[in-house]
Symmetry: C2
Subunit: 374 residues, 2 copies
């Protein structure tokens, strides 16, 4: 296995500007990954994602195992060809879906976890080894280890058991790597909101030779200050020479704060989910398209934005589409929000490169605080 | 008012190849208009529609009157700016929605029709004059007169009353035209499936100075042979020097047959509606994406198609998106179907120009008959 090259280009405080070379291309970090759980980002095709500045996409190994399944993906020669995306791909293992969702008291053994397919009721037994092998077979650039992600709040006992299992599974995942596979493997720090557990988990993972490290189990309901505290606790123990990925986070302000803590990679459903609800992220805070105040507005959603939506459409038109339940509404709103996220990351990369992150942070907040904070 | 120039370029049998110059551009005919009832085509933006070869789009004057309403459209300077589409636009008056839909026994007087907004219960009284004025104010290239469209089957008495009212309203619409307006006005032939009524209605309309003529009230449930018979009866009486538009029709075979009868313009929701149901139009007939036979297929939807979807995606991927209920499914399927319709029209135009329409017709049927006829 050839480790991906992670090249640190600049620092500004704890923030890092770096370049991650993967099997299918290079990712400039800090970077944001749009979410394509089932091999598709909501309403956007691969060419459009590329045009928005996307360099890395996220899929979900568990979802793709259930449907379309291994035969179909192998016939296509992997997930890239199946999706029509030839840039870098990362898959989450499905730990979050297995453990933290509503129906999630799974029969778990030290060996793995039993799971019944919601699609056809088929019973599956998933192990760290089988989920790593599946991700390698899909040919993704980055595979995440199978972890045990717990709900918040959790007792120390529960959090400790999950962190211990996550560590054990992480070590087994590394041993299961196929020699020569082009897929990088990232470990995941768990430990709930317990400082000692986070520290111990991160330290133990750091001793293993992962290509990168993720911080998982955050932004699951805990207050934002606690989330950032647990993030810092986790990052402190991780090697500075490897990429760091904060899973499932977050809003623009959360991304900004996490970048300032030294996070390199992000994914989140918010830009596309909120797009469907008519919430746009802008340089002047959140714009709620359904509000009657936009009914006759000729302004573009964000006068400071150069995205295809802002260059073409008025708030009144987008308000009309949202109120009319037009399919085009979700699409245009998603295009804008994902463009906004990519622009935010570009701005952060440039600010770190030139040592102007504090100044840039103040400018971003000054804008957002003109309206509802993003 | 400056009449649009309609230039006949070639004939092949009854079929016509022509060029229609409108206020916002030129339309090569026979042409197909995608349907953007409320100012948006399902899931596709204006730039994409243009890229697919669209030269004329359809909106609905009644829907747009209810929402967003006159103030919003006037603030934008008309429907073009509101939609972000600067090419030719045609609006239907809403006669079909007023009269032929389920709840459609409207209180109608010789003067006009009373209508209660389904959005806010507001009571509106619509007249041929007010609907023409509204379309002119929106700045569309072609306005349709307010007509009375009846359900099928209808008694001769009912059909006669509707045709008579349609004729009366057509004459009033012409008198209501604003001097100097750039909006062309089309009359609509009604008469149900009664030959004598159709003939009389078309003949009377032909005596009025319309910029073009539509055949309405067809494809509302009657057998296809009867539809084509009524179409021919209607067309026979219309002046050959003006464009002819068959409203709300149809499948690829119906378009082909109607072109052979001498129709120049079409609109229909089928390519986008069937896209959402997973039905793709192809050179080998209808492809039903949900069928299990496509689960592992690496073939593009239509191996003879050069659209962005067929160049990038397999049937298996589109099957997966459809089964997963992904937003991207409707979008990709719509892109393909609208591309297919525009390609069909391009092929028909070329065949008429070169006098090869019969040969081309045979080729199209031979392809479609390999599968389920389109």
């Amino acid at each position: 296995m050839k480790a991906p090259r992670f090249e640190l280009l600049a620092r500004d405080g704890a923030a890092r500007r770096a370049r991650l070379r993967l099997a299918h291309g290079t990712v400039e970090t800090p970077a944001f990954m749009p979410v394509g759980t089932r091999g598709a980002v909501r309403g956007l095709g691969p060419g459009e994602l590329y045009d928005l500045g996307t360099e890395l996409l996220l899929g979900n190994a568990l979802h793709l195992l259930l449907r379309p399944g291994p035969e179909v993906l192998e016939k296509h020669g992997g997930l890239h060809a199946f999706m029509g995306w030839d840039g870098p791909l990362l898959t989450d293992s499905g730990g979050f879906q297995l453990f933290s969702l509503a129906s999630a008291c799974r029969p778990t053994t030290p060996e793995g976890v039993e799971f019944r397919s919601p699609l056809d009721g088929a019973r599956l037994f998933l192990t760290p080894e089988s989920m790593l092998e599946w991700q390698e077979r899909m040919g993704v650039d980055i595979a995440m280890v199978l972890d045990e992600c717990i709900a918040w709040p959790a007792t120390q006992e529960r959090a400790r058991a999950a962190a211990r299992r996550t560590l054990d599974w992480a070590a087994r995942s590394l041993r299961a790597r196929r020699a020569g596979a082009a897929t990088a493997v990232f470990g995941i720090v768990q430990g709930g909101t317990h400082t000692a557990l986070r520290t111990a988990c991160a330290r133990a993972l750091a001793d293993l030779e992962f290509d990168g490290y993720a911080v998982g189990g955050l932004s699951v309901g805990e207050p934002r200050a606690l989330m950032l505290e647990m993030l810092e606790v986790s990052l402190r123990e991780l090697p500075g020479t490897r990429p760091r990925y904060l899973m499932g986070v977050g809003t623009p302000t959360e991304l900004l704060e996490a970048v300032r803590c030294g996070v390199d990679l992000f994914d989140c459903v918010l830009p596309t989910r909120n797009a469907r609800n008519g919430q746009l992220y802008t340089s002047a805070g959140v714009l709620r398209l359904r509000n009657a105040v936009h009914r006759e507005s000729l302004l573009p959603p964000d006068p400071e934005c150069a995205c295809p939506v802002c260059r073409t459409h008025s708030r009144a038109y987008l308000h009309h589409l949202q109120r009319s339940g037009e399919l085009l509404s979700a699409r245009l709103n998603s295009l804008h929000n994902l463009y906004y996220y990519q622009k935010l990351m570009r701005g952060l990369r440039a600010a770190i490169s030139t040592g102007r992150l504090e100044q840039h942070t103040a400018t971003l907040y000054a804008g957002w605080e003109r309206g509802t904070l993003c």
